[in-house]
């Protein structure tokens, strides 16, 4: 331990930040958001080859000659764009909290 190459004059007490309740709460909410969304979009994505390989549901016509598989695929595209924007919005709000956490640390919060 202790080869903290990045620090020259200032040493950051990472344990102190990690012990702050605000930090723990941020990580908890951040991770549950990220993994929940990941589980949702991976499930939606993997469902496509499962449905096309083992059922004929998506082979039926939806609009004119356009079959459901194209509609489902279009849904995945819209999902990707939507989740991308959602991520950026969420991440920007997490940033604000991270800033507050660093400010709290500078004011002496979290030290044992």
């Amino acid at each position: 331990m202790g080869n903290n190459k990045a620090s020259k004059s200032v040493v950051i007490d990472y344990d102190a930040i990690a012990n702050q309740e605000s930090f723990k709460a941020l990580v908890r909410r951040k991770n549950s958001f990220l993994w929940l969304m990941t589980a949702i979009f991976l499930a939606a994505y993997m469902l496509l080859p499962i449905l096309t390989s083992y059922t004929k549901i998506l082979h039926q016509k939806a609009f004119g000659e356009i079959t459901w598989v194209w509609v489902y695929s279009a849904g995945l595209f819209i999902m990707t764009w939507a989740l991308c924007h959602l991520y950026v919005a969420k991440a920007n709000s997490f940033d604000k909290e991270a800033k507050a956490i660093i400010a709290e640390y500078e004011n002496g919060g979290g030290r044992r």
């Binding site: 344990d15 356009i66 991520y87």
Partner: protein, 518 residues
């Protein structure tokens, strides 16, 4: 197909080569430090980096490969578009920000931010270089075949031309030149694709419904063309391939490197929005490229030009837009290949020069000047190795090499990235076993797959029965990578909660020494 080159084609090719060389000359004056070389000094703006990410994404495999696959196999070809696009969410949600917050130039930087070990760094560099080489051989072989077809020159000359150009960009202009070549190519590629798609739509009377209706009878597959199942009939293999696409992207070194080329997380996010929209729109347009080629060029002519369908998009451009559009699209395809291989050379060089030479051999005690020199020597080394391999790999199937690269990236890199960021108990032994298990199992499973073995002579590299029936083994090798990392971790007693807390704080807050004022 034209015999020899027309004047228009020569004009477009020379313009692109000239323009990229001017950029390289301009960039060379701004490339003095290692950070300039590897990450353009972190100086790209959101839209610039977004276009460059899109450029990295939209390789020749995307443009020529997917257009051809959709043309020949209808919906089954479109699987690639969906896979590559959704993969972006994995990069975004799981990997991008922690990587940016912990790393400097390379993936190994990020993993060694937690486990400061030469073995970990060396293993990460090894897997990066392996992925880069497979991916680059694929691009170079494809490029050689394409240019051979377009210009009527020998394969080996074509590979040497591409190799020479990519080395020039990287050697003199580093990441700045590579990024700008990527940006210009992304714009040209979008322009070309939008023009062709517009012309295709015009032929169908600007009606999507009419297009689908006509495509239901336009090919010899009839209505089956509009449904999955024309190419991929083995369910497990289809699922496995889609796993490789969606998880592999998040382990591709040249994609990950793009998150170091902007100054802060906010800029990184704005670049991501740009990239997702551009890439998504492009992939939707691959439907028009593919359908148009199937209808207005025809399967027979596409296959006659190239058995894998790689010429579908250029031939469609010729059918709808004549010689000018054909020449333009060919030149764009050429620019696409150049830009992507340049990015690959750079990420390979970062692993070789920064990780192996700078950090392992010289133990980080290396001056700025030496770092840049090492980066340049590393670039030449990676370029020469890949050119030599590509010269010997002319007959290998390009799609197979690309899918192998994705499979290794998903199996060797993704598990270790996720464990490093999210698993407290993870340790040095686990990091090494995760990478090695993923890397070796992906390579070994492909070595016994139908890509290599086929009972019919000439269908694959060796004659014989494959041991597994999967053409893409991601469904086995990705879990093995995770399992290898888990077992390796549990077998070693080493734990370091303090270090994990540091990594956790850095990854989640992006805190660095500059942020703290006292």
């Amino acid at each position: 197909m034209n015999n020899g080159m027309s004047l228009t084609a020569i004009f477009f090719f020379v313009s692109i080569v000239g323009l990229t060389l001017v950029i390289t000359w301009w960039a060379s004056k701004r490339t003095s430090s290692a950070s300039d070389f590897y990450t353009a000094g972190g100086g790209l703006t959101g839209w610039q980096n977004g276009l460059a990410i899109a450029g990295d994404y939209l390789s020749a495999a995307s443009f020529l490969g997917i257009a051809g696959a959709v043309a020949l196999f209808g919906f089954d070809g479109f699987f690639f578009s969906i896979g590559y696009l959704v993969a972006y969410l994995v990069v975004l949600y799981i990997v991008a920000e922690p990587l940016r917050n912990l790393g400097k130039f390379t993936l190994a930087d990020m993993i060694t931010a937690r486990f400061d070990s030469a073995k970990v760094r060396g293993t990460a560099a090894l897997s990066t270089i392996t992925i880069v080489l497979f991916y680059m051989i694929a691009q170079l072989v494809g490029a050689g075949a394409l240019i051979q077809l377009l210009l009527g020159i020998d394969y080996w000359i074509a590979v040497l031309i591409v190799g020479f150009m990519m080395t020039t960009y990287v050697l003199f202009g580093g990441m700045t030149a590579t990024s700008w070549v990527q940006i210009i190519k992304a714009c040209l590629l979008m322009l070309g694709t939008v023009i062709i798609s517009f012309l295709v739509l015009k032929e169908f009377g600007f009606s999507i419904a009419t297009m689908f209706k006509e495509m239901g009878t336009a090919t010899d597959s009839g209505a089956a063309y509009l449904n999955p199942g024309l190419k991929y009939t083995n369910g497990i293999d289809t699922i496995s391939m889609l796993i490789a696409l969606v998880l592999g992207t998040a382990g591709l070194p040249h994609i990950l490197m793009r998150f170091f080329t902007v100054k802060d997380a906010k800029t990184a996010r704005s670049s991501v929005i740009w990239a997702t929209w551009i890439v998504g729109i492009f992939y939707i347009l691959t439907i028009f490229l593919g359908f148009g080629a199937a209808k207005f060029v025809g399967k027979e002519d596409i296959i006659a030009a190239n058995a894998a369908g790689n010429m579908a998009a250029p031939l469609l451009a010729e059918a709808l837009g004549g010689d000018i559009l054909f020449s333009f699209v060919c030149a764009v395809a050429f620019a696409t290949i150049l830009a992507v291989v340049a990015g690959l050379v750079l990420s390979g060089a970062s692993a070789l020069s920064h990780d192996i030479y700078g950090q392992i051999i010289k133990k980080g005690k290396i001056t700025e000047k030496e770092q840049v020199l090492a980066a340049r020597i590393g670039s030449i080394t990676i370029a020469v190795i890949s050119i030599l391999l590509a010269l010997g790999a002319q007959t290998l199937n390009v799609a197979f090499l690309v899918s192998l690269a994705f499979c290794i990236a998903g199996s060797a890199n993704l598990p270790v990235i996720i464990y490093t960021i999210y698993w407290k108990r993870f340790n040095t032994a686990g990091a090494i076993t995760a990478m090695l298990t993923g890397l070796i199992s992906a390579l070994a499973l492909v070595a016994v797959s139908p890509n290599i073995w086929n009972p019919v002579e000439g269908k694959a590299i060796f004659v014989g029965d494959p041991l597994i029936m999967l053409t893409n083994p991601a469904i086995i090798s990705v879990p093995l990578g995770f399992l290898g990392g888990f077992i390796g971790t549990m077998l070693s007693k080493e734990t370091d909660d303090k270090k994990y807390r540091e990594v956790d704080v850095k990854a989640n807050t992006g805190i660095s020494v500059q942020d703290v004022s006292h």
